[in-house]
């Protein structure tokens, strides 16, 4: 059996098992509200695993490993931001949220406000954040498939992205929160096992000497010691193309971009709707706290392992695999499939370092397989199993590939659930029906919303599939930190906060993040010279905002708007704040709806 067949078999097994689990979870659902919170009876340990499964996305596994493999230390910055962010959730958000809300982020933000405007805002930002996050996962799925199954046909790749979308719709509509939770728990187990296996094998190769691993990675990367320090991807010294000197303005922008990314990562987690709703699946605040502690343990260990995965890929996987059909021979020369040395003009032979000297015609023959590094981890697995063409390599590639698929499926299900819940509970039940919808009606709407959101995500993901998934996720984090976190923190801790403050905080942060993104160098070419850019639209020039990540501006803007809205409005809600404060700290009347 070859790797492709084995991958397909393993993956289909995972799909079959999870479908059974989801179907059974769906059948055991008693109340309509179980769709949202899975019965709110999971233990802290179970939910901690599910949170880990919900959080450690394709961005973590594929994106971070890929970023480290290509750019070295800078990829590790993602790992740190993604982990430290959990302290915001632990110290400020998880317990009060569990105590004072029921199903959605909107429950807490709208607790003491006018329901309709605040819930509309909360639902809008929930859906926007979730869609961005969904894109990242589905792009990862596409990249993975083309490696595992050797699919290069774009139509086939799109078909796979659509398949992932359909599966997530099925999970959510049939299994609701309970089914999704079980899928995430299974996935968390598989991912931890897979990552541990790879880490041990990598370290084994280097006799468990991390210094040697790093040394080999920097050597094989061709970038020497620079590979082990920050600066190859973020905060680079930007050169002026004509003078060859460092451009101070562009360099500063690049360094600020790194700060911006750091801010988005650390403040984004506690504003991610699909993470927030996981706190509702346990009965008490104490269990919510325990969930976060279990999650921090799991996630922390996993991110430490990304060091071994990423640098292992850099050290062990040949850079030639970046180009389809070409390898290097024993003399280090670049050869094609037949073993013939690739000639160009009068030169006798080429190594990879000479690629830049190839003629334009010769370059066209080199097809980059993975320009964004998204498949470095599966490639590492293949190498550790024995390499391309060996049974061991095929098995390892298949196992790790299937785990990555499982990872993607669990996360996309969580995202679809969060956005469809918010649509049904915030928008439909509380805004359109003004709180008069029956739970059955709500859940029916949620399922329809899940289908609609899934379909939208499929089409968008097909459109943006050349972007690095860790990067796409960092954008979702920036939007969550700008649009959601200010409103959540203000409402829990600031007595004066009111309806206008909440609405301005959410729309202000959300709009700032999205608008700055549109005018950033990831959408079109920058107006300022010498900035790094690989935009979606290479022929357009309207990027007046110099940073790739909007967080540095949009997050403070969200907080500012929340403050401004509050102080310019006379609305006061002292009595409701008393209720919110007592409920959020004690859990009195937990799970009961707020009477308005």
């Amino acid at each position: 059996m070859d790797a492709k067949t084995l991958s397909s078999v393993l993956f289909l097994t995972f799909v079959a098992v999870t479908l059974v689990i989801v179907y059974r979870a769906g059948r055991s659902t008693k109340k309509a509200s179980d769709f949202y919170d899975g019965g709110a009876n999971f233990s802290g340990f179970q939910n901690g695993l599910a949170i880990a499964g919900d959080y450690m996305s394709a961005a973590s596994f594929l994106g971070i490993a890929g970023t480290i493999a290509l750019f070295g230390y800078d990829g590790f910055l993602y790992s740190i931001g993604f982990l430290v962010a959990w302290l915001v959730a632990l110290l400020l958000v998880a317990e009060p949220l569990r105590n004072s809300g029921r199903f959605t982020m909107g429950d807490v933000v709208a607790f003491r406000m006018k329901q309709r405007p605040v819930r509309t805002a909360a639902a809008t930002s929930t859906v926007v954040v979730s869609i961005f996050y969904l894109l990242a996962q589905m792009v990862g799925a596409g990249a993975l498939v083309s490696l595992l199954l050797g699919i290069t046909d774009p139509g086939m790749k799109n078909f796979i992205i659509a398949g992932v979308g359909i599966l997530m719709i099925v999970y959510v509509t049939i299994g609701g929160m309970k089914g999704t939770t079980y899928v995430q728990i299974v996935k968390a187990f598989l991912l931890m096992i897979g990552a541990t296996l790879l880490t041990v094998l990598v370290l084994w190769k280097f006799n468990f000497n991390i210094s040697d691993l790093l040394g080999a990675a920097s050597e094989n990367s061709g970038k020497k010691e620079a590979f082990l320090s920050p600066g190859l991807k973020f905060g680079k010294d930007m050169m002026d193309a004509t003078t060859g000197l460092i451009d101070p303005a562009a360099t500063l922008a690049s360094k600020l971009d790194l700060i911006s990314l750091g801010l988005a990562l650390v403040l984004g987690t506690a504003g991610l709707p699909h993470i927030l709703i996981r706190f509702y699946t346990v009965p008490t605040a104490k269990q919510a706290r325990k969930s976060v502690n279990w999650a921090i343990g799991n996630i922390g260990v996993f991110y430490l392992m990304t060091i071994a995965l990423g640098f292992g890929a850099a050290a062990l996987v040949s850079r030639t695999v970046l180009f389809r059909g070409y390898t290097t021979n024993a003399d280090g020369l670049l050869v094609d499939k037949t073993g013939a040395v690739i000639m160009d003009g009068g030169t006798t032979g080429f190594t990879l370092d000479h690629l830049k000297d190839l003629s334009a015609d010769a370059k066209k023959l080199l097809v980059p397989i993975d320009p964004s590094g998204n498949v470095a981890a599966p490639q590492l697995a293949q190498f550790l199993g024995g390499g391309e063409g060996t049974t061991g390599g095929a098995i390892m590639l298949a196992i790790i590939g299937a785990i990555a698929f499982a990872t993607i499926l669990a996360v996309v299900a969580g995202l679809t659930l969060a956005s469809s819940s918010s649509f049904a509970h915030d928008l439909y039940a509380n805004v359109i029906k003004r709180g008069k919808a029956t739970p059955e009606q709500e859940v029916k709407v949620a399922k329809i919303a899940a289908v609609a959101i899934g379909v939208v995500a499929i089409f968008l993901a097909i459109a943006v599939q050349t972007l690095n998934v860790a990067f796409l996720v960092s954008i979702a984090f920036a939007i969550a930190a700008s649009g959601n976190l200010p409103a959540v923190l203000y409402t829990l801790f600031w007595k004066k906060f009111n309806t206008r403050g909440a609405v301005w905080a959410i729309y202000g942060g959300l709009a700032a993040a999205v608008i700055l993104l549109v005018f950033s160098p990831i959408v079109s070419m920058p107006l300022l010279p010498n900035l790094a850019a690989a935009p979606l639209f290479k022929d357009a020039h309207f990027a007046w905002f110099p940073l790739q990540n909007p967080g540095l501006v949009s997050i403070p803007f969200g907080f500012l708007m929340g403050w401004l809205g509050t102080i310019t409005s006379n609305e006061k809600n002292t009595a409701k704040y008393a209720e919110l404060e007592v409920r959020s700290l004690t859990g009195a009347a937990i799970g009961k709806a707020v009477q308005h």
Partner: protein, 108 residues
Amino acid sequence: MSEQQHGVWEATQASTKFQNLRKSYRGFAFPLTVAFLVWYFLYVVLSAFAREWVATPVVGHINIAFVLGVLQFVTTFLIAWLYERHSSHKLDAPSDEIKHEVEKALGH
């Protein structure tokens, strides 16, 4: 919700017991939040602006950047553990007590 019930929340909020709980929670969580954010941004700013310094080797190929990065993991685990200890020793009991009193007063 009746006026009387609203009264329960406000009376509880004003009570010494609740104010102590609130102080004990905020007095622990807020300074710790500021501390880990400052520590994290110190790390990010050094990564952006002190390139040469963080590239200094410590042992073999392990440089200051790696040590600082791994220290972020260590402090995260440590803070999570400290908060768990504070909550379970100082916050859980009074919070449960107030919860029962409130629910009794509300007639739940």
